[in-house]
């Protein structure tokens, strides 16, 4: 059906093994006319190497998986993961690797993982992204040995990639202090043992840094409605010019903005707002949000980089990395003296 080395060889009048060597360019050790004959024949016949055959010999599939959480009723939950994917893809492509998306519920180890990647040897490695329970980590790792853990709750010396979330908290604290606020309100919810690491790290990074300067971080709780809208029952009393509200992510920031607007409060003037995170959409929809950067494309790129390193030398696993962040100046917090 498709053109193989043998077909090309027949046309070129050479043995198929010779054709293989010419095409793989083993040291230019052929007569130029022979080379040309082979190359022409291959092109004319539209020869394309069979990846499976090559894989069998080389033991490398040149395929990496990206494991994403597949939450029921949250089809779109992982939108940000796409940027990560593009970053990974961009890096892997350079080395001839392909990227396949694998989705899994959090209970995969109990048997609901259906993807073929767990049943056959198809992947050289797997990049795991986001929140899964420890059991899942162990199970996945036992099936696919070469893993990079990107933004998961796992943190070892090797193979893990995190955003430096404590630094995020400290950055927020620094700007709260620089602007002269004496009251700050955390709106990112209560930290418990099931939390994603970012929640604890942002919270304590912020709290501790503020405490060092004699400011106690206040907190308000939040509710999540069935339709995924965030509600902050105690928010109203904190719309004050002397206060800065700290949102866990842009969704939270948006919810605060909406609530404030409906009460006639103007962000930046009637209250301050800072956000610990950003998403690609915020560049278009709310570039003025005062926030800490979060380049998920870069995270993907680095995760891919670590994966390539790991595959290159599995014995010497890549050292874990923490990605730094920057403060992005916005117009949603100007300090406590700007009441109009």
């Amino acid at each position: 059906m498709s053109v193989t080395l043998k077909h090309v060889a027949k046309r070129a009048g050479l043995s198929w093994q010779t054709v293989s060597k010419v095409l793989n360019d083993k040291g230019h050790l052929f007569r130029p006319e022979t080379r040309q004959r082979v190359i022409d024949a291959a092109r004319e016949m539209g020869y394309v190497p069979n990846a499976a055959a090559r894989t069998m010999r080389s033991k490398k599939t040149l395929q990496i998986g990206l494991l994403l959480r597949n939450e029921e009723g949250h089809r779109y939950h992982n939108l940000a993961a796409f940027i990560l994917l593009l970053g990974i893809n961009t890096r892997l492509e350079q080395n001839g690797y392909l990227l396949s998306v694998v989705r899994m519920g959090d209970l995969a180890c109990t048997g609901d993982a259906k993807s073929r990647v767990f049943e056959e040897r198809v992947l050289d490695g797997l990049i795991v992204f986001g929140g899964f329970s420890p059991d899942v980590f162990d199970w996945v790792h036992s099936v696919i040995p070469n893993c990079i853990w990107a933004d998961t709750n796992k943190w070892d010396e090797y193979c893990c990639l995190h955003r430096d979330e404590q630094q995020v908290g400290r950055l927020i604290a620094k700007h709260i202090l620089d602007l002269g606020y004496r009251r700050a309100v955390w709106t990112g919810g209560r930290v418990d043992k099931h939390s994603h690491y970012s929640q604890a790290d942002r919270y304590f990074g912020l709290k501790d840094e503020l405490a060092r300067h004699g400011i106690e971080l206040e907190s308000i709780s939040s509710l999540k409605r069935d339709d995924n809208r965030l509600i902050y029952p105690e928010l109203a009393q904190h719309f004050q010019p002397d206060r800065v509200l700290v949102a866990y992510n842009t969704l939270g920031a948006q919810a605060i903005l909406t609530t404030g607007t409906s009460m006639g409060k103007s962000v930046g003037w009637d209250y301050g707002l800072m956000c610990c995170d950003e998403t690609p959409e915020v560049f278009e929809s709310w570039p003025g949000l005062s926030r800490v950067s979060n380049d998920r494309f870069e995270m993907g790129y680095q995760a891919a980089e670590m994966m390539l390193q790991l595959l290159d030398n599995p014995a010497q696993r890549p050292v874990s990395r923490k990605m730094g962040n920057e403060w992005i100046i916005g117009n949603t917090a100007w300090g406590p003296h700007t009441a109009r």
Copy 2:
């Protein structure tokens, strides 16, 4: 290194070919005890079939590609494509197929396509999404014969999947008429031969349907700034209670809203607004937008369905499909009589 049939066979005390047959469950034609011995041995040793070897025999890679446009400076342009990807993935997974993301600039045929999928036989088929030039279509098709064209400008009898964009225009027209508007303004830009098919179809579907009822569709032009913000120079004069503005997509709707807000105009009251498209984000950020539905997850699911059909029987290619749309009631257009 990894466990093969031979290792399992040795443990089970059988030939490796027999082990293969048992594991592939060829008609239960083995003694139960033999079967059990094999199955136990395989599990104990953690046997996993080698996909490459299987591929070599079956001539099927069980891999599908998703081709996305890779625009310089538009890293995040294709965010909506992720939902499509999830839809495709969900369907393919059921049949054991893997999905790989492939990105390409629009000039690939001139040589900037770097992905390995164009240089080796790795994919059983390719789903092409979005806007490329006809040259690219031809080139891609010549390299990878089994293609499904999802939301591209290509429209044949077979293998194409479109949203019914003319119906979108007609749906908008219908609701404009139902609400009693006599003036409607298209803000979706001028149609030319490089336009995506959706632009022409939405525009003419709307225009023709309105014309049938004696209403002439007005138009205003738009500019795109360097930072991707949309500007409508002639917009101001159209913020009138007797008028409905029709946006090409949610980005356009957002831009109109922002402009209106800055002029103290209240959407739904001071002017009407309808949108031809929706994105996942709009469910969270602007559920009240009066618009036509666009389920990209479903489009992905159907594209995958067509691909599986094509692979199942390449001789009988799947007939092209047009996906219908629904009107989503919002609060941004109430008819021309609601001026306050």
